[in-house]
Amino acid sequence: MKHTISILVENNAGVLARISGLFARRGYNIHSLAVGVTDNEKISRITIVAEGSDYTLEQIEKQLNKLIDVIKVRSLSADKLLARELVLVKVACKPVQRTELIDIAEIMAAKISDVSPDSMTLELSGNQNVLTTFEELLSPYEIIEIVRTGTVALQKGSSGIRV
């Protein structure tokens, strides 16, 4: 089962290595990982999507909590999850194909971020399923490159994870 875990950490050097190292040596699989600073520049928020049983999840949380730089660990419950990923897709595109791609972008509410005589770059944020559909729609075209972020997530409603 997939779990989404939010971690608040002190923004110290090496903190990401400590966390990823812990996952590696205890045999926990990371699906995706995203890091960014919070409104407090000394604190970063890491979102990790990991696979494992409830026992594994409990161990992950406890072991993460033991790291000195880790301030807070929360597993986000699936039913209240607000999760987003961002994808940038650069597609080979002659001027005659542009309308087709603009159509796809409109249907999927994606943005066109860059256009060149031979290519078009589309940008979309959404949950994993939306992004997968988007990639499928673009698959008939020649994809030059594609880049996707890890999931960032928070819980719906008024409560939040803060220090």
């Binding site: 002190e10 400590r18 040596r25 409990e58 406890k62 909590n65």
Partner: protein
Amino acid sequence: MSEKITVAEALVRCLEAEGIKKIFGYPGAAICPFYDKLVGSKIQHILVRHEANAGHAASGTARITGKPAVCVATSGPGATNLITAIATAYMDSIPVVIITGQVSSEQIGRDVFQEADITGAAQPFVKHSYLIKDANLVPEIVKKAFYIAGSGRPGPVLIDVPYDVQLQTIDFEYPESVELCSYKPKYEGNKLQIKRVAEAIKEAKKPLICAGGGLFSAKAGEIMRKIAETANIPVICTMMGISIIPTDHPLFMGMIGMHGRIAPNKAISECDLLILLGARVGDRAVTAIKNREDLKVIHIDIDPAEIGKNLPVSIPVVGDLRTVLTQLSEIIGTQENADWVKYLHELKNNDKRQNFISDESTNGVNPAVFIEKLNKLLPDECVISADVGQNQIWTANSIRLRGANSPSEENVSVGGRFITSGGMGTMGYSVPAAIGAKSARPEAEVIAICGDGSFQMQSMELATMVQHDINVKIIIMTNNRLGMVREVQTNNYENRLTAVFLDGSPDFIKLAEAYGIKGGYVNDEAEADTALENMLKSDKPYILQVKVDENERSIL
């Protein structure tokens, strides 16, 4: 009032402020500024002969004092040599502060001479680590390192200091306390949970305490003993828990595990309530309880991650053992459990099995008989440092440690104390750890017991003992084999013995003589008493080379 001094001097001053009297180390170019400032300091530096042994010696000191002890090494190989010692301390939750020199900041990442990413390499084995980039943070970081190492579940903390940082001048003021917003160990136990513990003990017909090494860290031996006596609960221990309660205490039943004795292992498989105190349910210790669904388990530990990790727990209590047990002692009542205690007692007393093959063909001494002879001569104030392998099991099962060896806040280790590398099983631990123990507790008789295999991983430390006049006694159980591996090959590999023969080993007494250390041989049991007396009479280091049969067992 702050003053302007170099970081190197600041490091020395920080250690002095932490009350450090002795440090163990091995210098090198990258740590030279620090060593330069040791000149004139009251801190005594004990030069070991291999960096790993600096770590083990600090671990020995820390076990005895219950406070963080310090070891120092240089960058690159000096630092990487420490890794085994760091891992050993980590597995046994021993507070050690490790200071390593590092190449200059601007050279980091360029693979210069003697550069190693030690904070990276040691990361799985440290409670925390620092690579110092900002010289001004040094006092705060050292304070934090000591605080982190010694509080909560203790463990090693590494401080890596680049050469150029050591030479920088800072405004020095050692902070009196530090606060870490992300690290706040929980000391008090949940009152409701503790009440449930008391009730469970009251309901139990066959309660059992399993005492682990965490009781030493928490200095909770005394209060554990009181609770056991009040409610008449038998006590068994893990290897890390040996000597937390006097081994001749009427409620003490022995060490559990695949190498343990009958009474404690029967106890753990027949009890109806298991109270785990500061024990992490290691795989070698508790095979017997894996399949007991009816068993009620109470687990009290300061590290929440240990609770439920290896064993489902009915009543978890997170907190400092001394605090929690004190809370518990206030609500616990007296209890009978007389049949249960009597039953285990009989098992214990009727357990005449000894490890040994002892018949006419036996070569050398019977290890249990030999250790028993040592027991009779051993003063109450002593530290026994066992190595790893058969020698460790023989010692663990047969050593008798008397005296009021229940550590308290004031005196962590009064009476007889047993130390060994329990979690990591690091060969070559016993002598450097004994050196550390003796340095911390000079009035106690400190004896390292090792095998001829493990001794050869640490024999260089004889020089350290001589140079610094550290009166450690060493008993080498020789069978010209890596005995524990030999036993595994005999039992599990149809006795196909390979790579376990120690031919080529020296005469250890002659080797000791080369260092100016006296010693004696014990070739059979008749020679043992006199030899042991000579050893204990000596006020200098002394070595006994004890002959043990090559087919001797450690599994009962």
